[in-house]
């Protein structure tokens, strides 16, 4: 255990220097992108706001089911299936029919490929809807996968809206992530007052159709600049139609000029109003306003009565897709609910860093003094190994661009306290071996050998606990698990290689002298 070949020594110290070197990039500004990595500060240290938003998709599910009603009736009529007592409630469509029709119903219901009523979800290899037959009553409801699909689509759309709105506010480096099935995690560093953001995220996207006016009208008017053309238009304050009346929006290509457009469909009430207004105002311009920005203001060519329309505005297919997506989730009836919120002011964050660093330094000094006092020369070895341990811990945290939180700092301090354990185990063991052994080298050798098993066992148990904490922990607590886990690994490295190598140097130098620990 005490013999180190030159190449081994070289490997150990090169590894150590390489890893620790990265910790420097937190203090110096390197140009190279590889060395630009830094340890991120958690929101609790740099200040900022953490919001957990929940998407309530129940209304969406209901609407999805509603959208099937006409299609279903059409299909039933087409296949000459007679049905009675057709009804729809929150989670199912029900109707009665004679038993002889069951087969035919199942056939049209479970048709793979272009099935208009019941889409086949390739992702889940399953249908969107399910049904049960009880006596003569057929109930149709969303299948498990249909719901999952709907939900994840709803969350994806919401994330897009959230991102867009947060970007508009102009916060630095926001992080927006999907959490579980129906939640969105938003982290906003540097935001002290998340109220405005919460208000914005709580609203559905505001889409409105308003007439362009030349002069003052009874409702008043306001000016907009069309984003693409920079044309300034004066728009009536009277809202003809808002996003609430939108059922669906899809990107399409214009049949005439093959330009990407967004087609939308309106609900009954919206269709009526849209039809009336467009037939009364042929030749005038209709402005389409989204979140207080004019997308376009086309001239009304004809009355639009079918409840379907298109928006063109110099889109690429991508932007048309994006707009359609925005409009679709804008039509979501349910705003996002904030279910968890944590905001830390920047000065509290600063105080926390200071307190954390002060306690780290003091804790570190206390341990170093204790070890030097207790083990003298070997205490210094333990301390060197402790310092290299900390440097490597910092280096790895930097390499991983890990997020340091206040509990994370606590994890580092705890590592300082527990890291010497490995050295203590070794030294105590060697002490025992020295009693029964004449040769120093023999005693040290077997001391290392015997203690290493214990060290591994002991550290692996703690590692198990911290890995589980990492998986299940949330927020700042995760930061604790990260530093503790990495700390355990660097502890093993520094005890097994660095302490052992330094000890071997001393032992070989004093092979015939009496060594006391």
């Amino acid at each position: 255990m005490l013999n180190f070949s030159n190449s081994k020594v070289l490997t150990i110290y090169i590894t150590f220097i390489l890893i620790s070197f990265f910790s420097l990039s937190n203090f110096l500004n390197f140009e190279s992108p590889f060395l630009k990595k830094k340890i991120n500060l958690g929101l609790d240290l740099q200040g900022g706001s953490y919001l957990l938003l929940e998407v309530d998709s129940s209304a969406l599910e209901k609407r999805r089911l509603q959208s099937k009603v006409i299609l279903l009736k059409k299909a039933l009529n087409k296949s000459l299936i007679k049905f009675d007592n057709f009804s729809i409630n929150d989670d199912s469509i029900k109707f009665t029919t004679e038993e002889k029709n069951f087969k035919e119903f199942e056939k049209i219901f479970n048709l793979k490929g272009s099935n208009e009523i019941n889409a086949f979800l390739d992702k889940y290899n399953s249908f969107e809807l399910d049904y049960t037959i009880k006596n003569n009553l057929i109930s149709i409801y969303l299948s498990k996968y249909g719901i999952i699909n709907l939900r994840s689509a709803a969350v994806d759309q919401s994330i897009e809206i959230v991102r867009r709105r947060i970007d508009e506010i102009g916060t630095k480096e926001p992080s927006i992530l999907k959490r579980g099935n129906n939640r969105i995690l938003v982290e906003l560093p540097g935001i002290k007052n998340p109220e405005r953001i919460k208000e914005l995220l709580g609203k559905t996207a505001e889409l409105s159709f308003r007439l362009v006016t030349k002069d003052n009208v009874e409702f008043g008017s306001e000016n907009f600049i069309i984003t693409n053309t920079q044309e300034e238009i004066s728009v009536s304050k009277r809202i003809i139609l808002s996003g609430e009346n939108l059922i669906d929006a899809q990107p399409k290509f214009d049949n005439l000029n093959n330009q990407p457009i967004v087609s939308f469909s309106l609900d009954r009430l919206g269709s009526q109003r849209f039809g009336r207004v467009t037939s009364d105002n042929i030749g005038k311009r209709l402005a389409i306003i989204l979140d207080n920005e004019a997308i376009s203001a086309p001239v009304i060519q004809d009355s639009i009565t079918g409840g379907n329309g298109t928006i063109s505005g110099n889109f690429t297919f991508q932007t048309a897709t994006d707009l359609a997506l925005l409009l679709r989730s804008g039509a979501l009836p349910t705003p996002l609910n904030v279910v968890e919120e944590r905001t830390v002011g920047p000065d509290l964050g600063k105080d926390s860093i200071e307190a954390g660093i002060v306690s780290l330094i003091i804790g570190f000094l206390l341990v170093v003094l204790f070890m030097s006092f207790k083990y003298k020369l070997f205490g210094i070895i333990a301390n060197i190994s402790l310092i290299s341990n900390l440097l490597m811990l910092m280096g790895i945290l930097t390499l991983l661009e890990a997020t340091l939180t206040l509990p994370g700092i606590a994890g580092i301090i705890l590592t300082v306290g527990m890291a010497v354990d490995a050295n203590v185990l070794i030294f105590e063991r060697i002490k025992e071996e020295l009693k029964g052994e004449n040769s120093n080298i023999q005693a040290f050798d077997s001391g290392f050998k015997k203690s290493i098993v214990t060290i591994l066992d002991a550290n692996i148990t703690t590692l198990i606990a911290s890995i589980i904490l990492f998986i299940f922990g949330s927020g700042p607590v995760k930061g604790f698990a990260v530093t503790l886990s990495i700390g355990l690994v660097t502890t093993l490295f520094s005890a097994y290689f660095i302490s052992r190598h330094l000890t071997s140097r001393i032992v070989f130098k004093n092979r015939d002298n009496k060594i006391t620990i």
Binding site: V339, T343, I362, D421, V424, N459, T461
Partner: protein
């Protein structure tokens, strides 16, 4: 220095004490209950700093009481003029938004009020956090049970798990007794205690296993005693350095880390005690002998 204390003699007394403490803790947890923080109970927490140091805790309480938010818990938090306010809200989408609360309280209290921290946890999330916390602790226990069973024998596994239960229950019992808040960071502390206590136990068990082979004629009681003595200085030194680090966090690490470091300090002390006085006697009660481990060797 050779340690030669007779721990074996004190096993009985220690075990009775432990049992009483565990029982008291369980009774405490059941009857007094634990003081869950907003992480697990839901509600709102606000840390505020008032410019003027004349503001008393009663002023803060009355300014919040006017908002009719239900039960309000106010306490001083570190420096003078710093307060921690907690309240449970009946429904999360209350009409009274945080913005309104901030405005009203700022108006009510003279001088500049800085809201340093605002945390708001909905009932659904708090329930989930509690569940995942309990799940994490249970999984950690199960994983260790398995690890020790693989590395040692089932008797060791049971011994170490009983020791861990002992530590965790007494720590939570103490928190209940002192009405200290249990929040997310306490779960982290408990998991670390679990790891630390196990670490400590494993060191002694490793030595027991070694000594069982070395002195196959000795009884388990004597072997335990010998092993505890041989590892005693390590046990004390490691506990001391860990405690030094923890005390440094407790005193200097700021108010937010106080509960966490206190739980850890209690846990480390109890964990050290339990590996000597709980985990080791259990081997004796199971009558672990050289045969127990030699069987393991044969099976391999």
């Amino acid at each position: 220095m050779i340690n030669n204390y007779n721990f074996e003699q004190k096993f009985k007394l220690a075990n009775i004490t432990s049992m009483i403490l565990v029982l008291l803790s369980i009774l405490m947890i059941f009857f007094k209950g634990v003081n869950f923080g907003i992480d697990f109970k839901g509600g709102t927490l606000m840390e505020l700093r008032c410019d003027s140091t004349n503001i008393q805790i009663s002023d803060v309480r009355s300014s919040f009481n006017q908002l009719d938010l239900g039960d309000i818990n106010v306490k001083e938090f570190g420096k003078k003029g710093d307060f921690l306010v907690k309240f449970e809200r009946k429904s999360f989408d209350d009409k009274i938004s945080i913005k309104t609360i901030k405005e009203k309280v700022s108006n009510e209290l003279q001088g500049n009020v800085d809201f340093r921290r605002v945390e708001n946890v909905g009932p659904k999330v708090s329930k989930e956090l509690l569940e995942s916390g309990l799940l994490a602790i249970s999984l950690a226990l199960a994983a260790m049970l398995f690890y020790i069973w693989v590395r040692f024998e089932w008797q060791f596994s049971i011994g170490s798990i009983i020791a861990i239960f002992h530590d965790v229950l007494i720590t939570i019992g103490l928190f209940s007794l002192l009405s200290l808040e249990i929040n997310l960071s306490i779960v982290a502390a408990v998991l670390t205690i679990v790891g630390y206590s196990m670490n400590d136990t494993v060191v002694i068990y490793d030595r027991v296993r070694e000594n069982l082979i070395k002195y196959s004629s000795l009884k388990i009681g004597e072997i335990s005693n010998k092993s505890i003595n041989e590892t005693l200085s390590r046990t004390i030194i490691t506990s001391s350095t860990t405690l030094l680090a923890l005390i440094s966090i407790f005193i200097l690490g700021g108010e937010i880390l106080k509960g966490f470091s206190l739980a850890m300090i209690i846990g480390v002390i109890i964990g050290t005690y339990s590996s000597i006085f709980v985990a080791s006697p259990i081997l004796k009660y199971f009558n672990v002998s050289f045969k127990t481990i030699s069987k393991e060797k044969e099976n391999n």
